[in-house]
């Protein structure tokens, strides 16, 4: 017997799950990413540094700002660019806004239908119209941050190497604050919902987590990766710790840390840095500690809900800080091209994202390397499948449903995962 779930619905991109069963034994389980590869690292060569983020942010739509930020910061790292405090704050607002948009979409529209037994959020809307409309407004509040800071919801252009082309007005920032305040209750609702669900036990197994150390305050920028076994390293050294291999069944390469799969994303961030959450998110984290099962990857949804509360509040506090400092109409920092290598890592909604480039003296790309969170998680998804499948083999319907839920809990962004790191550079 062979079970195929293809295409896997409610994920971004084309993916599928394949389970081969012989008698009542599971012979093979594979999480397939079969979207056509796009070879970003290859075709970006020769591109002038200034335009690199414009192309690289198109790796993904749903985490377009994370790609934009990782790309811009890697260029700045290579060319020795230091940005202003105002730029840093605007970038922080942007990345928290993206978390609100992406998590609201995933938690309510893509994951929640599984738990409530609906095929989609639209079907769900008939029974829960207020909740669905509220969740869409929360998502819209996140998108408002994109619109105001980058120029549009997807693939903005206002965020540049060295800063922002145009600084938003105070009134625009006030609009963000207001939108977040108005929809905040739906972030709280997501915590209430996902802390009340009983998770399927089937995938329970050991998880190793890796996340970006955010410094004193919980957030999505940082300079060091931290693993749950206590090890940490400067992001520039990522190649020593995160190894990649090509696997035939997936166009995303598989990543390993010390020879084993690992998990990145909301659950990893909450596991490693949950104590640094602020305000009500921190209270809720303490309150629901027992509900967060770090050995069950499906807990990722509750971790996302906690981050949703944190990020909504952080957008509000970032706006307040920007307004109290007074907005300056500053231009992006002037940049002089030079030869060099730069690396940056950002927490995308799905986990750590790494961009690394090498430039020639004229500032043109000669080498590029991108590792996306979905690619890092791919081997861990396979691990969860291998653990869960034998337990459910007698009930194919339940097996299919649980494996889909596992894959979806990771919030896989398959279009990102298909253009990955090269192993060798000749």
């Amino acid at each position: 017997m062979k079970i195929e779930v293809e295409p896997l619905a409610r994920v971004e991109g084309e993916g599928g799950i394949e389970v081969e069963i012989e008698g009542d034994q599971v012979r093979e389980v594979k999480f397939n990413l079969f979207e056509g590869p796009r070879f970003f690292e290859s075709f970006i060569r020769g591109m002038h540094y200034e335009k690199v983020p414009d192309v690289m942010r198109r790796i993904c739509a749903i985490c377009t700002c994370a790609h934009s930020m990782a790309s811009i910061k890697a260029v700045e790292d290579a060319l020795g660019v230091k940005v202003s405090r105002q730029t840093e704050l605007l970038r922080d607002l942007l990345i928290h806004g993206e978390m609100v948009e992406s998590h609201a979409l995933h938690v309510f529209a893509l994951a929640l239908p599984d738990f409530l037994g609906f095929p989609s959020v639209v079907h769900m809307a008939q029974k829960y119209p207020r909740e669905v409309k509220g969740a869409l407004q929360l998502k819209k509040a996140g998108n408002l941050v994109h619109n105001i800071l980058t120029g549009r919801e997807v693939h903005g252009m206002n965020e540049r190497v060295g800063g922002f082309a145009t600084i938003p007005s105070e009134k625009d920032l006030e609009r963000i604050k207001e939108a977040m305040q108005l929809t905040r209750e739906f972030a709280l609702l997501s915590v209430k919902l996902f802390s009340s669900f009983e998770l399927p036990e089937a995938p329970r197994s050991e998880n190793t987590f890796i996340a970006l150390d955010p410094g004193k305050r919980f957030g999505y920028f940082g300079e060091r990766h931290v693993a749950s076994d206590g090890e940490s390293w400067d992001v520039h050294d990522y190649r020593k710790y995160i190894k990649e291999t090509t696997v035939k069944h997936s166009r995303a390469k598989h990543s390993s840390y010390k020879g084993k799969p690992f998990m990145v994303g909301a659950l990893a961030r909450i596991r490693l840095f949950g104590e640094r959450l602020e305000g009500e998110a921190k209270e809720l984290f303490k309150q629901h500690k027992d509900k967060l099962d770090y050995q069950n990857s499906l807990s990722n949804n509750l971790a996302q809900a906690l981050e949703l509360v944190h990020s909504v509040d952080r957008c509000i506090s970032d706006v307040e800080e920007l307004l109290s400092l007074g907005l300056k109409k500053e231009e992006p920092v002037e940049v002089k091209p030079k030869a060099g290598t730069g690396t940056a890592s950002v927490e995308a909604p799905r986990g750590i994202l790494i961009h690394s480039y090498k430039f020639d003296a004229k500032g043109r790309v000669v080498w590029a390397d991108v590792i996306t969170p979905t690619a890092m998680n791919a081997a861990n998804v396979d691990k969860d499948f291998r653990v869960a499948a034998p337990k459910l083999v007698k009930n194919p319907k339940e097996l299919e449903r649980t494996l889909e839920m596992i894959a979806r809990a990771y919030d896989p962004c398959i279009s990102c995962a298909t253009h990955l790191v090269r192993i060798k550079r000749i």
Partner: protein, 251 residues
Amino acid sequence: MKPKVGIFGFTGCAGDQLMILNLEDELLELVGALDLKSFTMASSAVEDSEYDVAFVEGSITTPKQKQKLEEIRKKAKLLVAIGDCAAWGGVQASCNGILKVEEKMREVYGAPDVWEIYESKPLSAYVKVDFVLPGCPIEKEEFLRAAASLLRGDLPEAVDYPVCVECKLRENGCLMLEGKLCLGPLTVGGCKARCPSLGVDCIGCRGVIEGEARVKSALQVFKEAGFKLDYVRARLRMFAANYPEILEVKG
């Protein structure tokens, strides 16, 4: 009877489908007005069906995708390409004619023949496309307007003027005069000159105005403004590498 609609995605970033989901205020009403047969990014309810309109995002890069696209074409009365990947092959086409697929695969995956992969091509390389909604990503209001026309059985009105028209309407100064290489003159309008209005030069994400763009004269203008041809070519190829005149730009 509600019109039967399918929304599909091939090689790309799923940004055009996401723009549909970004219609937060209109989404529930919109899908309520449709008989949505397939939209796997948002729903696991998929029915095999004929479609009054099929919206297709992404470029075609695998044999399986080509086959699936042909199936969609057979079942759809109208097939609409949404986004730059479906319209022109997307950014992943920017090396077409320069770098072979096998070479890219060797570099990224370690061997030239891990899978059978095609050079990134637009949908029109394989099937008849009835209408194109350009953009990387599409403009959501443009999508709504087009969807309304299509569902009434009319083809929407295509934009046939450059970004410069909208830039002038917004009374922006010309960025070329500030020494920036702006692709506005060759690029399909409809974005309300969003980038130049922020002071950022147009990167051509809505693709070239088919049949109307004067590529050769624009190249001359860019050259006279002091831009090196290899830089200009890289910029033009970003979103329109499969446009014949741009594919031919050497240097």
